[in-house]
Each structure stands twice: as C-alpha cells, then as structure tokens.
Symmetry: C4
Subunit: 208 residues, 4 copies
C-alpha cells in the first residue's frame, strides 16, 4: 500500500468512527472502502466489524474483480456491490454504505416509485457538480434482496441509467454513496442523509 | 472470577456506558449482567446505579437461583428476570435491559396484540441466526407489573413459546435482550432499538 | 462553605455540564442551585451564564430570603422561585431548572388544563416515593409570566396543593425539579424529561 | 490582527466546532465570520471547509467592501451576504450561518408568507433586547436563489424593513444570525434554532 492509499485508509477509518458515533452503522452494519487507482485494488472493511473501532488492520485487500488478495477476516457479502460501483464509476476512490433511520424509512416508502427525487434544497450543492438548489437529485431505489449477484446487476443497471446520481438506495436497507476521495464521499454521505431526513420529516409533517 | 469472566465484566461496563451516553438507561434505570458458564453464577448491576458510571465493583454475584453470593449494594427487583432468562436460554452469557423512548412507545401500543412483529428490514440480519430481511422477528410484549414473580413466570412462558426471539418487551417499560457474549448482546440491543425506532416512526408517519 | 456543600456544588456543576451537552439549557437559559441545610443558604448559578462552562465560582450565595450574601455576577430573575421551592420543600437540597424541546411543547399544550398527568410508565419509579408504574404523576403547569413575584406566589400555591409532585412546569418555558441531593435532582430531571418526550410523541403519534 | 480580534477568531472556531458537532453545518455548508471594528475588516471561513476542523488559518480577511486582503482558500459565494449584514448592522461583530434540519423545514414552509413569526416562548428572552416571552420575533424568509447579488439586495431590504430582527432565513437553505460578540451570536443561534425546532414540531403535532 503506497503512502497516498495509506492516507485514504486512515481517513476511511475516521469516517467509519464518525458514522458510528452518529448511529449510522448500527449493530456492525454498513461498510466502507477505498480504491488504489494504480492497480484498481480495493481496501474494504471485513464482515461483522464494529465500525466504531475500525482500524487499517480490519480491511481486506481485493483485486478489481473482488478476489481477496490479503487481509484477515471474512469478506462482506456486499463486497461485490463495491466492485461494481468502482467499475461503473472509474474516477471514484471511496465508497460508504450506511444504514440510517431516515434512509431506511425513505427507501422503504419509495421502492415502488423506483427512486427518490429531491429538489429545492441549498444543500444539494454539496453534491459534486451540482451548482443550484433547483437541481433535482434522483436517487435510484433498488428492491432489497439476499441474492447479491442480482443486486450487483441491478446496481450496475441503476448506475448506467443514472449517470449523474450521487447515491443508490437499497429499500429498507441503506445508502451507497461515493467520491473521488474519502473527503468527497463523506460530504456526499452527510449531504444525502441530511436531505433524506428533511424530506422524510417534510412528508410526515404534511401527510402528503 | 476467572479471566474470561473478568473480560466480559469489563465489556459489560463499556456497554453500560455506551447505553447511558445514548439516553437508554435514564435515571438509573436498566440493568446489565453476564453469566459465568463454569458455575452458572450471574454478575449483575446493583439497584439504583447510574449506569454511566458502572464499574466491576458495582456488580453483585448471584448463584444460578438468584441468591446473592458476594458484592455490595442492593439487588435489583428485576434480578429474577435475568435468572429466568439465563435458565431458559442456556447458551446465553450476557443480558441487557434498557428503557428507551422508542421501546417504551412501541411496547405500550403493542401490549394488546401481545407482540411486536418486525419484518422486511435488512438490519434484521444483525440478529444471530437471521439471514434475510424477509425474516419476521416476533418480539413478545408482556404487560408490565410490579409483581416480579408473576413477571418471571410470564417471561418464562414467553421465552418458551418464542424459542427464536432475540428480545422480550415489557409494556411501557423496556427491552430485555441477550447474547452468547457481551458483544452479541450489544449487537442485538442496537439492532432491535434501531428497528423499534424505524417501525414506530413509520407507523406515526403513515398513521396506519 | 463546608466540605459537604462543596461536594454538592461540584456535583451541581457536573449536572449543569451534562444538561448543557443534551441541549437542555440552550442559550444560557436554565439555572441550578443547592442549599446548605446548616444555615439555609442557597448557592445558585448567576444570570446569563453558559451552563456548559459553569464552575463553583459562577455561583452566588443567597440567604434563605434570597438576599445576595457573596459571589460575583447578577442574580437570575428566577432566584426567587428557588427560594420559594426550598421553603415549601424543607428537605430539598438541590434544584434544577431546564428548557427542553419536550417540556416546552408539553407545557404549552397543557397550560389550559393546569397540569400534565403521566401514568403507566415504569420510569415513574425513578421518582422518589413512587413504587409502581400505575402511579399517576400530576405535574402542575403554571402560565408563564414576567411578573416574578406573581410566579413565586403561584409556585408556592402549586407546591402546596400538590404536596407529592416531583416537578412544576412553567408553560412554554421549562421545568423545575428538585431532590434531597444533586443526584436525586438529576434522577428526577432525567426521568421527567424522558416521560415528557414519550408522552408528547405518543400524543402526536395518535393525534388524540 | 489585534489581540481582541484574535480572541474573537478563536471563539469563532470554537463556535464552528460546536455547530459541526450538532450537525448544523453538514457537508462543509455554513459559514462564520467576525469583524474588526477598528478598520471594518471581516475574517470569514473560506469555501468548502469542514467547519468541524476550522482553525484561524482557514479564515480569509476581507475589507469592508468584501475584497480579499489576505488568506488562502477561495471566498465563499455567500461572503457578500456577510458584507451586507455588517453594513446594515454597524454594531455587529460576529455572524453565523447554519443549515439545520429545522431551519430548512420551517423556512421552506414559510417562504410564501415571507416570514416566520414566533411568540410566547420564554426562550425568546435569549435574544438581545427582548424582555418578555410575549415578544413576537418576526424572522424574514427570503426565497433562495443562486444570484448572490440579488440575495444581497434582498437581505439588505429585509434588514432595513425589520430593524429588530435577530436573524434572516433563506428558504430551504439556512439561517443568518449575528451578535455584538461571538458569544452573543452563539446565544442567538442556539435560541433561534431551539425555537425553530419547537415551532416546527408544534405545527406537525397539531397539523394546523
């Protein structure tokens, strides 16, 4: 692991601790990864880990096809989704996956629509490439499944059809988001979760 | 107390501090215990303790029948429920009992039904033995009472009738959950409380 | 100040920091005091203080009639309410007054009724002298006013008419609660605030 | 930078960290500034900064017209709003701008009315010059826009028409508030955000 990747791994651990402190990766859920652009290898949290205590030693190194190259611990069943997301978004360097109260509620109520559309909020500008609150962010919602090959195909399709989206929701499950650095992935994560909470509270308040 | 038990006691104190920081054991409520599998003895928080400051010295040692063997402080009236839960779940090593906003609300509204059923959430997989979000977790709800002998019998019956459940609710009172280690009990606690909050917010949002 | 009182003052500062961390004394609101049983003197936070930084030096010493004996800073307009509460509850040693989201909401909606009645929750047992969830705690609600002499008289009357109550609410303002020690006052504070939140969320959820 | 200004800059960094810990400046949003009364220069957080890590080195020095005098980093697009606010409120020494769940919800639902009016809460007295809960605080709500020259003009107009207001909301965007010191700006910030949350929860609870 080169210096630049090691720095991103450290930043990833800090992101994991920060998310854990907010209750966004409850009960060892969620996962986090970075990619080394030099060889496409992925460093990803192993399965069953309390993310509040994640250290670099808790990461597995995978090759670009998702095969374990080094590291202890069991790969998460969702590693394949990271592999797909990195393949579909070649510039991406970091991925965060979290289970929050609000992304769970919003994805569950939006699965039939197939997406969540959020527009009109200034905080949308925290998403890379967005320069106006008038932007409508369409976040695809994939029906949850335990068939991870199928989920991987649906994620691929969702990313293909929504080239501009900054995240993908799995219904009653959680959010995948990413960035060209850990800092950007964290910014997207924090912005999307803020928007999910506002949107969900607005819907409940207006009983629309 | 052997080394393995001492480690679990330390982990139990950390769990208590973590729960206290989240407001889950308000006003000295809640209690926590571990069991020594060698002799069946139970180490349990004494009555009236601020769980945010719990140390190993604040635990009482009980025998398998619930009689105090050693330790200062007054046994909690709910010690008998721990004794029953350990007897009914022989593999269990740790029990957590917490009073939260969401378990109070959900148990109060579900007492007539006699249980809470939660299905469709990915986080259900944080419960040991559950491998799909499609799993329906049925958490029995016992009507609260100050007759602890009666509560003990009802808890016994609830555990007998629901061999797969990961927790039991007392109405407008709180949750009992457990695990084969403190880490597993904490995972079950965090998962169930997340699910209670999501479920309660969903019900309120949809006014179903 | 004798050793015992100095200990209570230290505990009071910790209570203030804890309440501040929860957002219960926003924008320098709220106040805290202890009484020395030897001479009836009251040590109370001065006006305009950020309670998250309260130290013993920020307390004023008042005599039993509320006259400043020593200390820097300006007395709070609400000092007179502490004086009345100590006179009406001779065994009390500590008082906490906080402004929270939930006590503000609940007191505002209950001012016409003149009280909040809370029953059926296990956490009621955290209130001294209460031994069953079936207990109905009646917390008087006084209409808020800027006439502190009138408020003092109404507080006196409320405490006289409700000899068993553990707290008094001022509408759209906040809670006064107390104890025979700082630890007991904190337990009453935490229990009542938990109950206010549960009760308010229940009402909003059921739209009763 | 003289000693007095340096102290305010330190206090501003602490305020930024405190706001970040509460989730009030998510995803590098929000900004903070102080003004040196000697020469009218403004020290303001640069664009794209994680406010949880803000240090004095992250501030830009602007002259009274908003031109960059010193400092690294890119000026925020909203610097012009700070310039206008300081010009319209000559005694002000500090400004805070935050994006919170509740100010987003409340400003979005109040944009057609053109203002939020909050009355009847004791915490209103935390706003300088307000001495009664009966005070009605009218906070103007400006429709959000990406045309910052227009926003600056509308902010100027809002401040002119509402000489007593302690804050201005941008719809679905956030709050601007200020004070004669960082401490006062923080007190106004905390009071207004508390009031926004109470008011929004009250509206949702009563479905008025």
């Amino acid at each position: 692991m080169n210096v630049r990747v090691a720095e991103q791994v450290d930043a990833l651990c800090q992101l994991a601790h920060w998310a854990a402190a907010r209750g966004w990766v409850p009960a060892t859920s969620g996962n986090f990864s970075v990619r080394d652009p030099a060889n496409g290898h992925i460093y990803i949290s192993c399965s069953g880990l309390d993310k509040g205590r994640m250290t670099p030693a808790d990461l597995l190194e995978l090759d670009a096809q998702g095969r374990v190259i080094s590291g202890l611990g069991k790969p998460s069943a969702e590693s394949g989704l990271h592999v797909v997301a990195y393949r579909m978004r070649p510039k991406m360097r970091a991925i965060a996956h979290v289970h929050t109260i609000w992304n769970t509620l919003l994805s569950a109520r939006s699965v039939d629509a197939g997406h969540v559309e959020i527009a009109g909020y200034e905080l949308l500008k925290a998403l890379s490439g967005v320069d106006s609150h008038a932007h409508a962010e369409r976040v695809p919602v994939i029906a949850n499944s335990q068939d991870y090959s199928m989920l991987a195909r649906e994620l691929e399709e969702a990313l293909e059809r929504n080239p501009e989206t900054h995240g993908v929701l799995l219904s009653a499950h959680g959010l995948y988001t990413w960035g060209t650095s850990v800092a950007e992935a964290r910014r997207h994560l924090e912005a999307l979760e803020f928007l999910f909470e506002v949107e969900c509270r607005r819907m409940q308040g207006s009983r629309e």
